[in-house]
């Protein structure tokens, strides 16, 4: 099946600035692949190189095995949904969607049929004669999708396509977009800075920072098992603490944070020396001050922030670190108030030891010669803690 993209040692420099710094990615056919990162991390530049608007300084872009790093965009079987949609303002919806088919010199009847199908697909029947400016943002977004999909590309590139929409519409379109991708079955390469978007829709996510890939994996993996401080910090809220690791046994690592001793069962448990440990706020438990046991640290509630579906409790530990705990709103009144002494329980199986802060992990799948995984797990967002439908 067509639509497999490989990016090999890709580098892009703009003068002195290195926007993309030697990345390797593999997007198997039919995958919903997201590139996630803050602005300036190189994700859009990478996408523009796959589309053909920029030419790489070094490296290869393989589409189904052919290097097309220097193929002009109009000769690539790849289409783009632009951040600003870039719908031609002087053309009607019909002519916008038909634009690519006309370039291919398709017969009129075929064009009419395929434009109709594409508009059906995005539920815009009957709006053919409108001009883009006469449509809402959400409708424009659908036209942009139809215009790209009508050409039946091997790969669809999407550059923050939901960025200009309001929060509610964005949520709705996230679901539709995922359903659409499963329906048409082509590879989607999706660029976003919104972690929730990436977690909800993607089969796999590449988290990028400063032109490098930090981690690649299914949403659950990058969220639950971040391998770098950046990923832990960028995806969701994390409690990051500097710690000393003293090696491990039985898959548990003994670490000390200041005067406290903790056991961590996740991550690089065999490490010794300076390290960081991380735990998600929703995995932190608050217990009465008198509670005792392993991995329990005394602290004092500094602030309670009401978030609606949960309460965010910020606890100051005796060594000066602060830990955030997320307490679900069950309807009962919260037992802790500002100034209360508490005991913070951080279960060993939720504590992760990170060794690095700088080195970018390599997406091994992308290294030429190693065959890609035969199937991708259908884990469309389920199990990712941030889904809120």
């Amino acid at each position: 099946m067509a639509g497999e993209v490989k990016v090999v040692d890709l580098v892009k420099r703009f003068g002195e600035v290195t926007a993309v710094d030697g990345i390797n990615l593999h997007m198997p056919s039919g995958e919903f692949f997201s590139m996630l990162g803050p602005s300036g991390c190189g994700k859009t530049t990478t996408l523009r190189m796959i589309a053909g608007f920029e030419q790489p300084t070094e490296g290869q872009i393989l589409l189904d095995g052919d290097d097309m790093a220097f193929t002009p965009p109009h000769k690539r079987n790849v289409n783009t949904v632009f951040q600003s949609y870039a719908l031609f303002p002087h053309l009607s919806v019909y002519d916008n969607v038909a634009f690519g088919l006309k370039r291919q010199k398709r017969p009129k009847s075929e064009i009419r049929e395929r434009v109709g199908e594409a508009l059906d697909l995005v539920q815009l029947q009957g709006l053919e004669k409108r001009k883009p400016a006469q449509m809402s943002g959400g409708q424009q977004q659908r036209v942009a999708l139809a215009r790209a999909l009508v050409l039946k590309p091997a790969v669809l590139l999407l550059d923050e396509p939901l960025g200009a929409l309001d929060a509610k519409l964005r949520k709705q379109l996230q679901i539709e977009l995922k359903a659409l991708q499963q329906q048409v079955g082509i590879t989607f390469v999706y660029v976003t800075h919104d972690q929730e978007e990436a977690l909800t829709m993607s089969d796999r996510i590449a988290v990028m920072s400063e032109g490098r890939v930090e981690q690649v994996g299914p949403p659950q993996e990058v969220y639950e098992e971040p391998t770098t401080t950046f990923v832990a910090d960028f995806l969701g809220v994390s409690n990051l603490m500097t710690a000393q690791a003293h090696g491990g046994s039985n898959g548990r690592c003994r670490v000390t944070v200041g005067e406290f001793e903790l056991f961590a069962a996740q991550g690089e448990t065999a490490t010794t020396g300076d390290t960081k440990i991380v735990i998600r706020p929703e995995r932190v438990h608050l217990e009465p001050h008198e509670a005792a046991g392993e991995n329990r640290v005394p602290g004092m509630v500094e602030r309670v922030v009401y978030l609606g579906n949960a309460n965010q409790v910020i606890v100051g530990l005796a060594n000066g670190d602060k830990v955030q705990a997320l307490v679900q709103n069950t309807g009962e009144e919260l037992t802790y108030k500002q100034g209360d002494p508490v005991r913070v329980y951080m279960p060993a199986d939720a504590l992760r030891v990170l060794t690095d802060t700088g080195t970018a992990p390599i997406d091994e799948d992308a290294v030429p010669g190693i065959p890609p995984p035969t199937a991708t797990e259908p884990m469309a967002g389920e199990g990712s803690p941030n889904v809120s439908v």
Binding site: G52, F53, P72, P73
Partner: protein, 305 residues
């Protein structure tokens, strides 16, 4: 996406056109100004080779440009006219631009059309209109006489003849210059005033500034680029104007640098001296322009766009 040669190729015809018909002509002026004069025919004999340039004419013009020289009075008069006209444009133009940008709400569109209208009426027609009005018996002349403003102007020493405005009055020339050039001054000023974010003013008021102080410390500095831009836009062509004084006065007592150049080409032809004055005028204006660019550069460093 596009072939590399495409954009330079697009620019080529225009660049070649400007090189031949804008840059090369300056070389022609230089050649004539630094050339010599045929002793019998009195025509210009240009010198194209810089080695054969004769700086005599330019030096002569420069000498006469000093106090006491024959061009000194004309030069001083030109400066006076330009500066007074500029002052007039600021005094009239600023309140108008300020009002339209800040306070006119329902009438704003109409006012803008009326503001732009003079752009589309020939400059010569607008001057001709004043001839109609200021000729003896014309509407404006009769109005000034009936209200005795003409006597007032005479007693103040603004005009030398209270009944003949078109007979060589500096006053008339300056008014005509203001009338002719003010639309070009107001529009850029309006644009810069209109761009000022109202929240700046609200912030100033919120922090306790009186409306006057808010104007002085916020609006005025923020409209500086518009003021300077408008000033340059009218000052440069005014320095080259010769038709305005010719139309509303025609007397040698009101002639400007432009008239002097015009005279050397169309009066008793001495193109060599005319070319020499043109070169000096151009240099002067380039300096002025350079100063403007420098201030703009500094302003853009201080203020975000």
């Amino acid at each position: 996406m596009y072939p590399r040669w495409l954009w330079p190729a697009f620019a080529l015809p225009g660049v070649v056109w400007l090189l031949i018909l804008f840059v090369l002509p300056f070389y022609a002026v230089v050649g004539v100004a630094f050339g010599s004069v045929d002793p019998i025919l009195l025509t210009a004999v240009p010198a194209w080779n810089p080695a054969q340039w004769n700086f005599g004419w330019v030096t002569q013009v420069l000498t006469e440009l000093q106090p006491g020289g024959i061009y000194w009075d004309v030069f001083v008069r030109t400066l006076e006219y330009v500066l007074l006209s500029l002052a007039g444009c600021v005094l009239i133009g600023y309140p108008v631009a300020y009002y339209i940008s800040r306070h006119a709400s329902r009438t704003k569109s109409l006012l803008l059309i009326l503001l732009v209208l003079p752009f589309w009426i020939s400059y010569l027609m607008r001057m001709l209109a004043w001839i109609n009005l200021l000729s003896p018996g014309g509407y404006a002349e009769r109005f000034l006489s009936a209200t005795h403003i003409n006597d007032l102007l005479f007693h103040l020493g603004v005009v030398s003849d209270p009944n003949n405005y078109l007979g060589g009055e500096s006053f008339t020339v300056i008014i005509a210059l203001i009338y002719g050039y003010i639309p070009y001054f107001i529009l850029p000023l309006y644009a810069s005033l209109d761009r000022i974010d109202r929240s700046h003013l609200e912030a100033a008021r919120d922090l306790g500034a009186s409306p006057w102080r808010a104007f002085l410390h916020v609006t005025l500095p923020l409209s500086r680029t518009g003021l300077l831009g408008g000033a340059v836009l009218i000052v440069l062509p005014m320095f080259g104007d010769y038709y305005t004084p010719n139309i509303v006065s025609g007397a040698p007592t009101t002639s400007m640098i432009g008239n002097q150049i015009d005279l050397y080409f169309h009066g008793g032809p001495q193109p060599t001296i005319g070319a020499a004055i043109t070169i000096l005028l151009s240099l002067f204006l380039v300096l002025l322009m350079g100063y403007y660019m420098w201030t703009i550069h500094r302003a853009s460093r201080d203020l975000p766009a």
